[in-house]
Symmetry: C2
Subunit: 591 residues, 2 copies
């Protein structure tokens, strides 16, 4: 199995040249995050990801998680590594310092997170859920709950979960039935939740479950949901862990991938819970986490693709098969053009995806910390427009890219011991959890485009067109990229206009065209980031940068994206313009 070597060079390039580290550094609290410091942080994390986390990934896949005597058992190595990484303070790397975090910009935290995800997706999910839950409590909890749990969660001493789904309530949270009744200072929660990631385990002393439930007199639907923090074990007045809280794990799912991430069915029977946020505002509290959580899952698409790519690259360099003119004897398969095409397809898409994810992370930093309210608002609008695109497009692409990595291995790819099949299986969850691609696309079209009459989209397109203008200044050198981006942005403009003109044609139109629109936006936005990357590389080379090989490779890779990926924009635009006619043209029984 190939080593995982975090691509620190490309991460640094993306943070500094695309995601705007200098702009983020102007913001309160980030003055010290110089490129040198960021590099040092990434180097340290990379070493841990490579030496400590990556080796447990295959063990987790093989051993999985199971319930024994009411306890969830994961591999011992998972616990040891979890405790090592959290003890070193890595859990809250981009959480604010006043609640125990390291206070680094989110764009730096994203790169670190990508490393954990690539090293072991199953393992990384525990931290993702914990930090998300902590963020919700930080934002919406009262002083009591914050004092009780926040520091312990940020440090990773305790972990956290999100309890939304019930058997009848998946994408449709309005159908949630779990009940909460007032009892003294708190509430008593009763109900069953499913698909609870890291719902139980023995890696930490306590688990704080964030549970969406409904009060007896609550209005129906999503307006009647309240968020509660329900600890696995009761928290005593001095903050220590007390007795059990009637929270139990019913079973652990047998899944296609991420075997060592226990996906639990949880039962709450009169369990004590603290309200988080206002009564009947549970959905709003969950929405605060959504930008972070969806961006993180989009990043998983980048991470798992990178890991799979590295294994395919290693195999392609060492596997000797066939001959080639100009080479003596057998050649490594990386010399064969179609193998190289597959590697380029992975490399180019991964770099574009990383660019888009980190750039979106930069908007998150600025949406939180820009001093000017109007700037914060416009950053938030851009963030919210891009989040479903990052989540939807990067995870959809990860299906293709991990599959290509497997393909490079030929028959060996299909053998489980080779290891690449695990990435293919693990990746498959990313287009589903934290909102399926269809849910992301609906969010994009409905809440992020139609609701503001396309204003945020118009500003984004304007920025893309500025990049086209910038490319023109470089003449022939970047002509291919310029031409392809200009055409692709034109397709996006056309599709947006079509949407604006036709969304009301029939009630099925927005839903019918939404995934094509999302994939169109992802493709064009990815191409935009690669174009910006090529511009930065040209400037670095002109300025006499040392690492010529990296920057020339970036330009070639951006050319590949322009030639082989951006032409898809036309197909997606055509798919949008076809509307809902043939999609809705059959009756149910004609399928």
């Amino acid at each position: 199995m190939a080593d995982y070597q975090p691509p620190v060079k490309d991460m640094l390039f993306t943070i500094t040249q695309l995601a705007g580290l200098d702009q983020v550094n102007r913001l309160h609290g980030f003055e010290d995050a110089t490129p040198d410091l960021v590099e040092a942080v990434l180097d340290e994390a990379a070493q841990l990801a490579n030496e400590v986390v990556a080796p447990i990934n295959e063990i987790g896949d093989r051993q999985g998680a199971r319930v024994e005597d009411g306890k969830v058992i994961v591999p011992d190595e998972f616990k040891a590594v979890y405790q090592q990484i959290t003890a070193d303070g890595w859990a809250g790397v981009s959480q604010p310092t006043d609640i125990g975090g390291q206070g680094l910009p989110y764009i730096v935290g994203l790169a670190v997170e990508e490393m954990w995800q690539a090293a072991s997706l199953a393992w990384s999910l525990c931290a993702l859920l914990t930090q998300g839950a902590a963020r919700a409590i930080h934002e919406h909890g009262n002083d009591e709950i914050k004092a009780l749990v926040l520091e312990k969660m940020i440090s990773g001493d305790w972990t956290g979960t999100m309890n939304l789904t019930e058997p009848q309530a998946g994408s449709d949270l309005a159908a949630i039935r779990t009940v909460a009744v007032a009892d003294g200072d708190g509430y008593r929660i009763t109900g069953q939740k499913i698909f609870i990631t890291w719902g139980d385990h023995e890696m930490a002393d306590n688990v704080i479950h964030l549970v969406l439930a409904r009060l007896p007199d609550a209005p129906p639907g999503v307006r009647g949901l309240t968020l509660f923090a329900v600890p696995k074990k009761l928290i005593q007045a001095d903050g220590s862990v007390g007795q059990s809280n009637n929270v139990s794990v019913v079973s652990v799912e047998h899944k296609l991938g991420i075997h060592a991430s226990p996906t639990c069915v949880m039962a709450y029977e009169n369990a004590f819970g603290y309200p988080v946020g206002d009564i009947n505002s549970g959905l709003k509290c969950m929405f605060t986490m959504m930008n972070h959580a969806r961006l993180s899952v989009g990043l998983e698409g980048v991470a798992i693709s990178e890991r799979a790519y590295q294994q395919a690259r290693a195999y392609a360099r060492e596997r000797i098969q066939g001959e080639k003119r100009g080479h003596e004897g057998g050649v490594a398969i990386i010399e064969h053009p179609d193998v190289r095409r597959m590697l380029m397809h992975m490399k180019a898409n991964i770099e574009a995806m990383r660019g888009l994810a980190y750039v979106t992370g930069g908007h998150l930093d600025r949406a939180e910390y820009e001093p000017d309210e109007a700037v914060r608002a416009s950053e938030l609008a851009r963030l919210e427009l891009l989040v479903p695109v990052v989540k939807g497009w990067c995870t959809e692409m990860s299906q293709l890219l991990t599959s290509l990595a497997l393909q490079v291995h030929g028959g060996m790819g299909y053998i489980e011991e080779t290891g690449v099949a695990q990435y293919f299986r693990d990746a498959r969850i990313t287009t589903i959890y934290e909102g399926t691609t269809g849910i992301q696309a609906g969010d994009l079209i409905g809440r992020k485009i139609l609701r503001d009459q396309g204003q945020a989209l118009k500003l984004l397109i304007g920025d893309m067109q500025k990049t086209v203008v910038d490319l023109k200044r470089h003449g022939e050198q970047l002509a291919t990229i310029r031409g392809a981006l200009q055409t692709a942005v034109g397709e996006l403009v056309t599709a947006a206009q079509w949407l604006s003109d036709n969304f009301a044609a029939d009630p099925d139109t927005p839903g019918a065209v939404s995934v094509n629109f999302l994939m169109l936006m992802g493709t064009v936005a990815g191409g935009w980031q690669m174009a910006r990357a090529a511009l930065a590389a040209v400037e670095q080379l002109a300025a006499g940068a040392e690492d010529k090989s990296f920057f020339t490779a970036k330009i070639v890779t951006a050319n590949y994206f322009a030639e082989q990926v951006l032409p898809l924009a036309s197909a997606y635009r055509a798919g949008v313009e076809a509307g809902s006619g043939s999609i809705m043209g059959l009756s149910d029984d004609q399928f």
Copy 2:
């Protein structure tokens, strides 16, 4: 888990309206294959596939195959079902009657084969390999070997395998090292072979291994390979099974999917073998089987996608989630436009793939049985042009389609017990074995297009353009399909011209553009079949056909393909025209 109901209606439509049953019926031996008889055969096979074969599929996935005391153990149900189906004469359904087959046209056999593959891909492979090996022996073997094994293989009493791959010889057969030395009437074979599908098992009394090996004085490379039939147990003069022949199974692979199909490492130690075909002509003998075998694997892409589609459709009809204007209360998710888009995407692509596969099967029938030699030759040229397209495109599409079927299930799709994940895992082998997509694409560009200066391709394009003309006669009703097909065929013409002008530009060009070219051809050829299907449906409706619902659905489905799939042709064409520049633009260490 959803029932598998073979789509007999669409299969019959495809056989009679697209693949030309009437033309095939003119040929010697097929006079009796009337549409009524074919329907009766398909109905009977469908019942067996549904009731007998499909239920063992999940058992096979769960139990898999293992080696115990030197024997390969598969689930008991696999043996019982194998013996039932072969006893009923289904093994050799489209083999000639003079060697014990049922003598039905290959296009009918294809439909039956699709049913077995969809019912249980792992199980169906034993028959695929056996019939392929029998065909090679029928074509190239001498009277002795034919008398010894042919009837028993056609009936399925004995099974067969193909032994090509060795650890150092995968796509590159020139690297084969297994040796054969003359010994009395036969040869002694020594070597190790890997990835041998159904290499050993206890379902039948004997296994006939076709083994590529090299004589001591053979020329190097592929010109020094000879094919041998090596029985698992020696065959006595009276045809009965004797003692063991020094053929042993070393191990069985642990794979991503098709768990119950034992993929064996086989060891031959001085095993007795019969030569099949001329010395040093082994590769030629394997090539005869290739059209059948590759077409069969292409068909697997259709079959596994159909099975996955049926499960997604059943889930979409019964899963209640969310609401919809005009519906009381919760609705089945099939009412949501994006779910319906996914179902349409599966349905449209599967029908196009089935059309292309069966049409190619019709060319196989005619290439074998047309009385006129010139007609046989032109049918063979068309067949050989389409085979890599069917193999490459249908199996690549099956990756997307089984993944979409999983996606329709949301979180449930990721749970193994739901069953759809098995189809996703099983499908993943199809782009790899029997020649990867890259190998198919190389075959298409090199042997099938450049070698005859594009003559066969030109004739194919001419037939597509005739369909565009036919569509014009139907005016507005088929205008969308006509426009999309005309554009897509234009893209194919452009790409073919580009290839003709540029293939010699540098030695990497053909390989670099080959997969884009293959996917372009598959997309356009699939759209061509859907256009032909729409034309046939319009005619049937005009003639007052009873099943209006089926034919109107066919027209809607063809429209969907025209609107949502054919636009990809432009992207593939652009990918071809970009040539090898950016694909080969990095040095090995820049990856």
